[in-house]
Structures are given as structure tokens and as C-alpha cells.
């Protein structure tokens, strides 16, 4: 299943080999190795399910991460959810307004108990 790694070795050694070997190396270089990359990454634009408190969650949380992993959490206690929100604020410096914390925690407790 692997392409040969030989071309990498040839290029790596290119500075030390004789000129007649370099034509071969050039050929090897073409099917080689590192090519610049330009990609697009999906943004994940789904919002948190609309219910009481969803505005606070959408406004405070989605700047750093999409919603999916939050919605995949198991049933967690209120204190566990509060710890998570506080971790986002203190460890990860999320600019969450202190006045929104309770609304966010209430929302998270409510979506998980609904499942």
C-alpha cells in the first residue's frame, strides 16, 4: 500500500551525489514529496437548538468552537457544566460575560436532561 520512500532519500542526498546522478534525482523529485497545500475547512455553522438561553450560548460559545461536541456530551450535573463553562473562561480565556454564565449553565443542563 505504500509508495516507495526512495525518492525522499534521493533528494535528501542530492547535495552529496555526482552530477550524473542528478538527472535521475530530478525525475524522482517530480513524483516526490512535499507540495504546497491550500485547503478550505468547514466552519460548522449550526446553531444551538433554540430554547430559553440559546442566545447566550450562541453568542458566547460559537466564536471558538462549533456546537457539535457540546451537544454530544453525556448527561452531566449542573456543577460539571458550571466547571466546563468556568474552564472556558479561566483556562481558555473565553470572553464570556459573567452575567451570562448562569443562563449558559441553565441551557446546557436543560438540553442534556431533554435527551
Amino acid at each position: 500500500m505504500f509508495r516507495t520512500l526512495l525518492p525522499i532519500a534521493l533528494i535528501a542526498g542530492a547535495a552529496f551525489v555526482s552530477p550524473c546522478a542528478q538527472a535521475q534525482d530530478k525525475q524522482a523529485k517530480e513524483k516526490l514529496l512535499l507540495k504546497s497545500v491550500s485547503v478550505d475547512l468547514p466552519n460548522g455553522d449550526r446553531m444551538f437548538p433554540s430554547k430559553l438561553g440559546s442566545d447566550a450560548v450562541n453568542n458566547n460559545c460559537l466564536a471558538c468552537h462549533s456546537a457539535g461536541m457540546v451537544l454530544n456530551q453525556p448527561v452531566l450535573s449542573r456543577s460539571q457544566w458550571k466547571d466546563e463553562v468556568n474552564k472556558m473562561r479561566t483556562a481558555y480565556k473565553a470572553p464570556v460575560d459573567a452575567g451570562d454564565v448562569d443562563a449558559i449553565v441553565d441551557y446546557l443542563v436543560s438540553i442534556r436532561s431533554a435527551n
Binding site: L5, S36, S38, D45, F48, M69, N72, Q73, Y92, K93
Partner: protein
């Protein structure tokens, strides 16, 4: 020879979730590629996840989170080969600001800090160093977190945040020697091109002890399974720390700093710590335990061709096969039990691809009496470390390593 269904996952269409109340609202706004769902399955749920093909250089993966990406390898991939294909290899990022363009001519790796000479190395400079190659398992610290009971917060992975690849690159020590490490160096810190979303948030960096960094096995990889790394797996350069958890394998590595003081950054000192207890295990709620940075991996093994809920034929010769790895050492033996651990038979091991690699195993057995049975598989490493039949537990959901159980019906 009886072989169970190759698929490890229950597939269904979106309407599978039609009755799931609140979840339906969320799914209604998901993009079209999230049309196919898979079930992991995790105890207590939620365990449905969309499959995705929306990520560059990637095939079908389980979508755990879109941004920053958390993508899981579907388990059936591990039944197909000992090396995990690049386009099915799991993906895990901490911060959402991931460069989407990398120009190989402009890329530079800085080597600095407690060294005689600061370096700024191009990819050609790195390619000119002696090449090394090594097969190694890359496993997330939180692989299988979704099976912790009681459940814990975090990425709710099944068993697919791991993969095995043949890594090609250069020895970290060769790079450090070019810079000249000064006496008194204690650690080496690694930083990648990703950035935190919030300016004063902790940049993702990890450190290794200086002797570990210089052991001749820690490497900078520019190829994975013979090809350049997918961007999401760390193109153009990734740190490889054989036998250690993936958190240390810094992606898009562009900065190496030799430190003369222990690293105090959040990701090394505070995050990714485990209880300093056997198997990193404590009782739920236990406090006051000394915590240490997560480090080496421990043995694990899996059946890959039979999944929970499969029906096997009584007394029909049956093949069980799968993968095992020893953690930071090789696989000495793999044992299989068809009766929930009462009796064990030694499985035949596949080709040895190196001590840090997955090792394939297989065994032929005859399912016994009709009824419900539990298949188990157990790895013993070359250092004599054997998987435990007691699940470990810690609040971060790290280092799951218990003997796996596969409940089947014999009919």
C-alpha cells in the same frame, strides 16, 4: 469459515433520529454531507454521530466536532490493514485558527532558546538530514473516553481516535545537534502554526524532557505512510513521540525551544494531567491525588472483525482477528477468550512492524453453546505489562486500557 459482518457500526439515515426530540432541531440545520449517521455506541448516549466527507484530504470519518475539527476513524478501518490510511486517520485540534495554506518554500522551522546557534530551517534543510523511518501508533489521550462510567465531559470518542502509520523524517536529536544544546537544558518545547482564537488564551505547546527529546527515536516527520501528511494531521512537519500519547505529537511544528527551566505553560503543566496511580485510576469523587503530565501509552487490543451484537454459528469454525499494541513497547502475546475470560487461548501474531506499531493477530475458534457469550482479547507487552480486566477511571477520561468485551449471540 464463518466471518461476522465487516461493519462495526450501525448505519442509518437521518430519519433514524426523527424521534429524538431536541436533536432533530439541531440536525435540521446540518449540511447535506451530514446525511448519514453512525452509532458508536456509548453507554447512556447520545451516541449518534454524522459521518462526514467534508474535510480536505480526508475520506469518510465520524464527525465529533467541526471547528476545531475532531474527526474519528470508523472502527472497520482497523480491520482492513495494519496501517491506517492517511485519509481515514483521526484528527484532533485544540484551537480553530489552523493555517489553511502552507507554502513549502516559505516554511521555516525555528530552533532557539538554550542553544549555541539559533536555526531557521527550510524543508530542504530538513530533508538533507539523515532520514529515519518508524512505524508508530498515534493515540489520543482521551481515546475511548465515551466508555468511561461514570461518564466524563470532553470529546466523546469511541475507540477510533487512534491510528498507526509509518512515519518518515529526521531525528529530533540531529536537529538539536545542529543548534548545539547548551549545558543546563532541561526540556524542549514544541509549538505549531495553529493559534488560539482568543489573543490571551494559551497557545498550544508541549514539552519533553531533554533526554527524551534526544533519545534518537523522537522525530520530525515529513511523510506518513509514504506521502506528505494531510494538512489536518500536521503538514508539513509533525513531532513523533513513539510510545507516548498523541498530545505530544505537535502538528504543523514550526518552533522548537530548548528550555533551561521547566515549562510552566498551561498545556504542559496543567492540562493533560493524570492521577499518579496505577493505570491513572482513581475512584469517582476522590480528591487530593497527585497529578502528573500524561506520558507513555499502555497495552491495548481489539477485535476488528466481530462487533457487539453479531450472531455466530454454534460449533462452526470461526475466525477472530484484530489489532494490538504494547504502548511504549512491543506486543509479546495476545490472548483470546470466547467465554468471558474463563479460558484464554493464545492468538497467532502477524508481522512485526516494530515495537511501536499495531500488531495484527488472529485465531480460529469454535463458538460453544448456544446463547449469549462475551468475546475478550488481551494484550501482554514485551515488558510483561498486561491489560487489566478492571476499567480505569479518572475525571479527564484518559488512558482507557481495560480488556475489551464483545457480546455476541451464538445460535
Amino acid at each position: 469459515m464463518e466471518k461476522a459482518s465487516p461493519s462495526h457500526f450501525l448505519w442509518s439515515r437521518r430519519h433514524f433520529l426523527g424521534r429524538a426530540g431536541g436533536a432533530t432541531l439541531a440536525l435540521a440545520s446540518t449540511p447535506a454531507w451530514a446525511d448519514v449517521m453512525t452509532r458508536l455506541p456509548l453507554p447512556g448516549g447520545p451516541d449518534e454521530r454524522p459521518m462526514t466527507t467534508a474535510f480536505p484530504q480526508k475520506g469518510a470519518l465520524i464527525l465529533q466536532r467541526t471547528r476545531p475539527p475532531l474527526l474519528e476513524t470508523p472502527f472497520e478501518v482497523f480491520d482492513q490493514s495494519v496501517f491506517t490510511p492517511n485519509d481515514r486517520f483521526f484528527v484532533r485540534w485544540h484551537w480553530a485558527l489552523i493555517p489553511t495554506e502552507v507554502n513549502i518554500d516559505a516554511f521555516r522551522l525555528a530552533v532557539r532558546g538554550h542553544v549555541n546557534r539559533n536555526l531557521s530551517l527550510s524543508l530542504n534543510d530538513i530533508l538533507a538530514l539523515p532520514q529515519m523511518e518508524l512505524a508508530a501508533v498515534n493515540q489520543c489521550s482521551g481515546n475511548s473516553r465515551g466508555y468511561f462510567q461514570p461518564r466524563v465531559p470532553g470529546g466523546q470518542w469511541s475507540n477510533g481516535s487512534m491510528g498507526n502509520a509509518r512515519w518518515t523524517g529526521v531525528r529530533l536529536n540531529d536537529v538539536l545537534e545542529r543548534a548545539g544544546v547548551k549545558a543546563g537544558a532541561v526540556q524542549v518545547r514544541f509549538n505549531g502554526m495553529d493559534e488560539a482564537t482568543v489573543p490571551d488564551a494559551p497557545d498550544f505547546m508541549k514539552s519533553l524532557a531533554i533526554d527524551h527529546a534526544r533519545d534518537g527515536e523522537v522525530m520530525l516527520a515529513y511523510a506518513m505512510n509514504g506521502e506528505q501528511l494531510p494538512l489536518l494531521n500536521g503538514f508539513p512537519l509533525r513531532l513523533i513521540v513513539p510510545g507516548w500519547y498523541s498530545t505530544y505529537w505537535v502538528k504543523m511544528l514550526n518552533d522548537i525551544e530548548v528550555l533551561d527551566q521547566p515549562d510552566t505553560n498551561f498545556w504542559t503543566k496543567t492540562a493533560y494531567t493524570i492521577p499518579d496511580t496505577p493505570n491513572a485510576s482513581i475512584k469517582p469523587g476522590e480528591i487530593g491525588v497527585r497529578m502528573v503530565p500524561i506520558n507513555r501509552m499502555v497495552p491495548r487490543s481489539f477485535i476488528t472483525n466481530i462487533k457487539a451484537g453479531d450472531t455466530l454459528r454454534a460449533s462452526a469454525p470461526t475466525l477472530a482477528r484484530g489489532i494490538a499494541f504494547g504502548g511504549d513497547s512491543g506486543v509479546s502475546r495476545v490472548d483470546f477468550s470466547k467465554d468471558g475470560g474463563k479460558n484464554w487461548q493464545q492468538a497467532k501474531l502477524g508481522k512485526d512492524e516494530g515495537k511501536y506499531s499495531f500488531r495484527q493477530w488472529q485465531i480460529h475458534f469454535n463458538p460453544a453453546d448456544k446463547g449469549d457469550h462475551v468475546l475478550m482479547v488481551r494484550c501482554t507487552s514485551t515488558t510483561g505489562e498486561m491489560q487489566s480486566d478492571t476499567p480505569n477511571w479518572n475525571p479527564s477520561g484518559f488512558m482507557r486500557s481495560v480488556i475489551e468485551q464483545t457480546a455476541v449471540v451464538v445460535a
